[in-house]
């Protein structure tokens, strides 16, 4: 088990830009972080992770209070990653560990997980496979511990290359929303597929996805994890010939195109 300090000893928490206190944020950051943290505190009390997971219960807190505290930190960090994407700043693989620490370290302190990094650091997670009509769940293996950092590095380099190609498209070759969403979906799926941590991968990957959507010139996306979405994510995470990012990309694009600003009438 890799706890904080084993993989990023040279970067103490004070150097983590995703762990800054409210007082250390600029005005634009505070404008987003405040409502996100407030919404989390108001909305996500009372739930809890299943017993047995690494982040089920923090020292000195009930599972419900642990869940609520993590939700608040997720809101804070996701707002920061969103702004980082909006400001067009590239991420490095090590930043993904900083994002994870930004979410979980305020709640779990020294027990916060670092990247899996050793040969025996294996992890499995459920994905949905089968047809849309008859989906079923299987366990998929994350990357080997030694492959976590290289895999994330390759995913981020590929993301930057796709952004360059996207940025070069101008009229009359204007991209569709799905063209722009594809690099973000790929990065999201690759982070989940790598499964860099023993727990908290979905929340970390989502903060990265929030970042990526902004880099791709889009907006954030919210939606319930319906069976269709789970199946689409499963397609993106499969091994072999049936793997495809297209179904999840289509859901993201349709969510954006189906949304409009409310206007006073």
């Amino acid at each position: 088990m890799a706890f904080r300090g084993e993989t990023l000893e040279s970067q103490p928490m004070t150097d983590n830009r995703f762990a800054r206190k409210l007082t250390d944020l600029d005005s634009e950051e505070r404008q987003l972080v405040g409502p996100a943290a407030s919404a989390a505190r108001r909305t996500f009390a009372g739930f809890a992770e299943k017993p047995g997971s690494e982040y089920h219960q923090a020292p000195g807190l009930t599972p419900e209070k642990t869940w609520k505290a993590i939700a608040t930190e997720l809101g804070r960090v996701s707002a920061l990653t969103t702004l980082e994407g909006n400001r067009d700043r590239p991420l490095e693989a090590a930043d993904i560990e900083l994002i994870h620490r930004g979410i979980f370290e305020p709640v779990f302190g020294e027990k916060t997980l670092g990247f899996r990094s050793r040969k025996g650091d294996e992890v499995t997670f459920p994905i949905v496979v089968g047809s849309r009509e008859e989906p079923r769940r299987i366990e998929r293996r994350g990357s080997g511990g030694k492959q976590v950092l290289p895999n994330l590095g390759r995913a981020l380099k590929g993301f930057e290359r796709e952004l360059e190609a996207l940025d070069s498209r101008r009229a009359p070759d204007k991209p569709n929303v799905s063209d722009a969403a594809l690099p973000a979906v790929k990065l999201y799926a690759k982070v989940i597929g790598t499964h860099p941590f023993f727990d908290g991968n979905g929340r970390t990957a989502w903060a990265v996805f929030s970042y990526a959507l902004q880099r791709c010139g889009l907006v954030e996306v919210a939606g319930p994890p319906t069976p269709a979405t789970r199946w689409a994510l499963g397609r993106a995470l499969r091994d072999g010939g049936s793997q495809s990012y297209d179904p999840l990309t289509a859901i993201v694009a349709e969510t954006i195109k189906g949304s409009s600003l409310e206007t006073d009438t």
């Binding site: 996500f44 929303v177 919210a222 954006i256 949304s259 409009s260």
Partner: protein, 69 residues
């Protein structure tokens, strides 16, 4: 990145799309939808997802209400 899209001419950047509404992230309803999506991300238990979705819809409704405290 500022792109022009062939099939979308709405605003981009610091908004959240819910499938019907486009909400500013800096407003309570937008922030609620935004954090809610994060809590439902990845491979979370479907039963818990339903609970979270219900909480998000309730909070978005109250956040959008002029009577919300």
């Amino acid at each position: 990145m500022n792109l022009q899209f062939a099939d979308y001419d709405g605003p981009t950047g610091l908004y959240v799309a819910t499938g019907t509404k486009l909400l500013p992230l800096s407003e309570p309803a937008g922030a609620t939808a935004f954090v809610g999506a994060g809590m439902q991300s990845g491979t979370i238990d479907p039963e818990q997802s339903a609970q979270i979705q219900s909480a998000v819809e309730s909070a978005m409704h109250s956040a959008a209400s002029p009577l919300a405290g």
